[in-house]
Amino acid sequence: MTVGFVMMCHTALHRAAEVARYWAESGAPVVIHVDARVPAKDYAALGKSLADLDTVSFSKRYKCEWGTFSLVAAAQSGAEQMLARHAEVRHVFLASGSCLPLRPVEELVAYLDARPHTDFIESVTTAEVGWTVGGMDMERFTLRFPFSWKTQRRLFDRYVDFQRRIGVKRRLPAGLVPHLGSQWWCLTRQTLSAILEDPDRPMYDRFFKRVWIPDESYFQSLARLYATSIESRSLTLSKFDYQGKPHIFYDDHLQLLRRSDCFVARKIWPKADRLYATFLSPRAAISPPAEPNPAKIDRLFSKAVERRTKGRPGLYMQSRFPRQDHENGKTSAPYSVFQGFSDLFENFEGWLSKYVVARVHGHLFGPDRVEFGGGETMFSGCLSDSAKLRDYNPRGFLANLIWNARGERQCFMYSPRDNQSIDWFTATDPNAQISVISGAWAVPLFRSNRNFRDIRREAARLQRIETYHLDILRSMYVKARVRIWTMADFIENPMEPLQTIIDEISPRSTRRLTEAPQMVDLTGFGQFLQNLKNQGMQPRLMGDFPVGDDPHPKHTRRGRPYLVK
């Protein structure tokens, strides 16, 4: 008993001829269907090149158009010819001209001999398929499709819409349950002849002539009526992408294909010389035959589709430039923004880097230069510290920084003195952790040696900027993890909020905060705020600082016992 191949060819006929020769010489008869649109000259050349093989024959030619019944008709006549001419054939294998056998025919025969009554055909009910293009599954059967999808797309779509609106429903032949699946199958003589010789076949054919893409449903549905044991999978390794186009195999897939242990793969790039040379050279069969295992290839292709449809979050590049709010990740990784901390504490950056596993930058958006961590003039990806370059595209700068430093969390200081054009971007970014001590911008002014008039003006400006920023951070559009304290509240008890922030940055570190960052000396700060008020400027964001009751940084205080969740 052996297997016979029906090959459906329309391009790269020289490759099809090589494959047909390989199968025929290994003892498997081949019936070739050549698309009627192939020029007579090429058809004749193919015939001539295979003339020396008497188990290779050609079946009646149909003009094959994708999505139409012609493909089924071609397969039917090829299969009929195979069954009629080659009595020794027990399994008929439907293949295409761009298929390539990955394993010797003897292995396939041995595999099929061990399963003599099994039909290998992917056959899934319409309710369960998830892969149909355009979302049409059941409608393939219940609507009519007089227009070509490829050349008359607009008419096709309109007519489908029209039928949906008026609620057209064709009646299915009695007893037929629509099933869909890969058009590449391997059926037993019993099942196949039952389908082809069924007295009701004219009725089924009439029905399927009006079904869309019947080559994915004709045999798949009818096999369910006759088969005794269906294995709902195809022996042909054939992967489709999200647009319904088959993935193509190249020379560099050689190892992957070899290890897949699949019997036949499609579609092969016709110029993949190495693949053809390797798999069509005589090889010894291995017994017992291994089970096909295409998992690795599945993964490769599903990753490719995911890259095409979802892309890498936070990446902006020449072929991925998402519109606003369609980014699928505005940035590539979590990061932290600290506003007001570096004003309130001495060397807050130094303190922070002791407690978190992260890169701690200064004011990345500072007005004079980009303050990269460690005083560097340049950072990962050759980002320059030039404020001009950064301000040319601040959001791009931030997205680049986070992308370049993948694998290392980024923290940076921020203040109303800095470039504010990233405010909405960070506020709406789920990767951002934004912590604000409001009003802390007043501390450097308080400690500065400037004329009070300038101080007052600057304070008014910064307050306006921070108020606007806080409005954004409190808006309904915020996706970032935002925490806001007034300065007064924060110095009341700095350890707890700091511990919370740090736990969020490195959740697995069990290190407890042992020392508080050194707070700047605020003696006289209440008076300073009162002076601002007296001069007509109303500082509102700091919280309550009564005159004379100056806050004292509590150096000796250890962190409150932290409750373990």
């Binding site: 020449q318 072929s319 991925r320 369609h326």
Partner: protein, 319 residues
């Protein structure tokens, strides 16, 4: 239209276009005084599977023309006319593309640009164009990636036939900024070593790096501004707007390679480049100080996969 008028400026030196087969992939190039770079350039693209080179020689006097004329797969035109008046050579190329490129996949590059695409080390360029054909994609982007040596640019001389990236092996991995040009629908990409070194005070003047060199040409196509953008505008939509990644490549740019200083001096004299040669003016100013573009954050080029991982190009759904 301009291209049609400018075609008269071209004189045929040698026309071997009869040898072009219908499925051949063609390269279109304008050049001036690139003799030393030509052997490697031709070898590189022959290896990728380019079948024919259509070249405009803009008044070379270093033997480039004679060398090219002797190559079996080169058709050569020459012109003494102004590069600037021909929209920086684009008019000439548009004419040749229309005439010879229609119906072919065409690659339009400069002699210092080396096209890298996904799987270029294992698959010929035909595999890419066949794949693009199955998706009816007509244009393929490749960002210009400026490569530079470690140390002063003129320190290591380039030998004829040598892979330029043995010397200029380094690049900037992640300092590119992108803006969308709503009118032409293309992306405007700037950045890299040129922006940070020569244009840190005037970033808006930094050169554009977006390019679309590989196009399945049709009669009514035209490059609007170098290979940065095309008309009709749909050809510029080489990027995905909804989060996904389309496939893309890179053009490794071997500009920062000796003899650069001499070239810059010459170009400054000719003043035939874009925007009053402001780019060259900026180079000259900085080059006199023997600058080193290299930094400790520079990335050393390995292969296309590295560029893919860094996010400079993408495989898209090609696997």
């Amino acid at each position: 239209m301009r291209a049609f008028r400018k075609r008269r400026e071209l004189t045929t030196v040698i026309d071997r276009t009869k040898a072009i087969a219908p499925s051949d992939i063609l390269a279109f190039v304008t050049l001036r005084n690139e003799r030393i770079r030509l052997p490697y350039f031709l070898r590189y693209y022959r290896n990728l599977g380019i079948r024919h080179f259509l070249i405009v020689d803009n008044g070379s006097d270093d033997g480039s023309a004679a060398y090219l004329e002797a190559q079996e797969d080169v058709s050569l035109w020459s012109t003494g006319a102004s590069y600037k008046a021909a929209s920086f050579g684009v008019d000439w190329l548009n004419h040749l593309l229309r005439h010879y490129g229609t119906g072919h996949w065409t690659l339009t590059v400069d002699p210092d640009e080396f096209f890298v695409y996904p799987f270029c080390d294992t698959r010929p360029i035909e595999a890419l164009t066949d794949w693009l054909d199955t998706y009816d994609i007509r244009s393929f982007p490749a960002m210009l990636l400026d490569m530079y040596p470690k140390g002063p640019i003129d320190a290591v001389p380039y030998r004829e036939g040598q892979n330029p990236f043995e010397i200029a092996a380094w690049f900037d991995a992640g300092n590119y900024t992108i803006e969308r040009n709503w009118y032409f629908q293309n992306l405007w990409i700037q950045g890299g070593p040129r922006a940070r070194m020569f244009f840190s005070k005037t970033p808006e003047a930094a050169p554009s790096l977006n390019k679309i060199p590989l196009v399945k040409w049709e009669r009514d196509f035209v490059f609007a501004s170098s290979t940065h953008m095309l008309l009709p505008r749909g050809l510029n939509m080489v990027y995905d707007e909804w989060g996904g990644e389309k496939a893309s490549g890179c053009l490794l740019h071997a500009k920062f390679l000796s003899p650069l200083t001499a070239k810059v001096a010459e170009e400054m004299k000719r003043r035939e480049h874009y925007s009053g040669s402001r780019e060259y003016a900026a180079y000259q100013e900085t080059l006199s100080t023997e600058p080193d573009l290299w930094t400790k954050w520079s990335e050393k080029y390995i292969n296309w996969r590295q560029l893919e991982i860094l996010g400079l190009m993408s495989k898209g759904n090609w696997a």
